[in-house]
Amino acid sequence: MSSVLYDVPGPKARRVSLIGSVIGSVLIIGLLAWIIMTLAQQGIFEGRRWAIFTRGDVWMLLGNGIGATLSAAAIAAVIAFPLGLVLCLLRISLVPWIRIPTRVVLEFLRGMPVVLMMLFVLLVFGTSSFIAVVAGLVLYNAAIFAEILRAGIQSLPKGQREAGLTIGLTSFQSRMLIELPQAVRRMMPSLVAQLVVLLKDTSLGYIVAYGELLRAVQVMADFLGNAYLFPIFFVAAAIYIAINICVSRFAVWIERRGSKKAAGGVAKAEPAAVETAAK
């Protein structure tokens, strides 16, 4: 592996690097060993604590939790995307009294913690926690999708819209037929990255008492006893993180593929998209 930042290491540098690597690895392994020792003293690795995973009902509860997580994410994504599209069109409308209120609404939605929106829907409208979770996710992510699509449309060469208007399309037709399809393709990596964020945010459902994966962990730990908290939490977190890593990998794959295939390539993620990635 070579990099512009340093020379291809010579024998001496390789030796130093190897020694550094060994010391670093030893430190990390030592830290892990210490953690494992501490855990072992607490009796975490006793067989009986992990034996619960031989029980079918534990897996069924975990499965229900995953199902609840994924279904909330899927439904929210399916509603949020078209809504984001509409908001994007309103946001770039030529009519000021449509554009400006939309902008205010988008700023409002983007500046708000998702969990606050969930709580708002839950308490003010007295809905079930499932609807609260989905509504919170939809409101927030529709605003983000709108901003991503807007960035995509604005990154298009001006000539695209001009050409559309020249051949007699109306402004709306030009947006729908010429600009949006290109914008969606360009912003595909950011859109998929936002899907990962959406999936991660379903875990906020824990706070409004939605029966997702983390809540299932809590319920089982309360039911079976604290002794089982760590094993169950460990397995659930591993599943959650594994799902997210898969979707992230998928996003990276799309980005690589897109930059090879799409005409003009994929637009670099705008700063607005980086923000969404951080959420």
């Binding site: 690597s21 990390i28 969990v115 875990s203 706070i207 959650y240 993180i241 700063p271 980086v274 990635a277």
Partner: protein, 216 residues
């Protein structure tokens, strides 16, 4: 409206606590994230590997799981905190540092190759190239995304409210429970105070972005 005015001291205290959590975690995350990014581009394989794994895992961990781990699992394993703020700061800074590291790394990649080549050709070592030439330029270009990460951090700190820390969201929940008939006003008040923090930061981000865009 009366509810908001009556409870103004609570809102104020919550705002300060949110600000405190965000600032402390933000500073820790900035330092930690920069070191992680440096490790990610370093010649030492073990550092690269460690940094990659850390960033990949933390970036894909839902924040609630990080909080759950810090606030509920750690204490039951014998790591106890005097205050739950410590748990919140651990979770928030560990989570945010992964995003900072990614932002800084993309900044490092955006510095023209010639800069590093020039620095190396006058005999600088890796540490010097990175700290004197690359990072100062990289950090400058990543200021707008960095501010956006900090905005996300302010919003993320609301999760702490669900884990025994009384910040803006925590107080909001408490007040909503106490004033069952005026939930809407209470929560809109909370929303207003969040916007008070996030909107100016957003404006700052876009201003800086415009400045940097002209400079390049």
């Amino acid at each position: 409206m009366d509810v908001i005015i009556e409870n103004l001291p609570l809102y104020w205290e919550g705002l300060l606590r949110t600000l405190f959590l965000s600032v402390v975690s933000g500073i820790i995350a900035l330092v930690l994230g920069t070191f992680l990014a440096a490790a990610r581009v370093s010649p030492v394989a073990a550092l690269r590997g460690f940094s990659t794994v850390y960033v990949e895992v933390l970036r894909n961990t839902p924040l609630t799981i990080a909080f759950f781990f810090a606030a509920i699992v750690l204490p039951r394993l014998g790591v106890t905190f005097e205050q739950f703020e410590v748990a919140a700061i651990i979770a928030l800074s560990a989570y945010t540092s992964a995003f900072i590291a990614e932002a800084v790394r993309s900044g490092v990649n955006s510095v023209p190759v010639g800069q590093a080549e020039a620095a190396r050709s006058i005999g600088m070592k890796f540490g010097q190239v990175l700290s004197l030439i690359i990072l100062p330029q990289a950090l400058r270009t990543v200021i707008p995304p960095m501010i956006n990460i900090l905005i996300a951090l302010v919003k993320n700190s609301s999760v702490a409210g669900a884990f025994f820390v009384l910040e803006l969201f925590g107080y909001g929940r408490q007040m909503a429970n106490a004033n069952g008939d005026q939930v809407m006003a209470v929560l809109l008040g909370v929303a207003f105070f969040y916007l008070l923090l996030t909107v100016p930061l957003g404006i700052l981000a876009s201003t800086v972005e415009r400045k940097v865009a002209i400079a390049r």
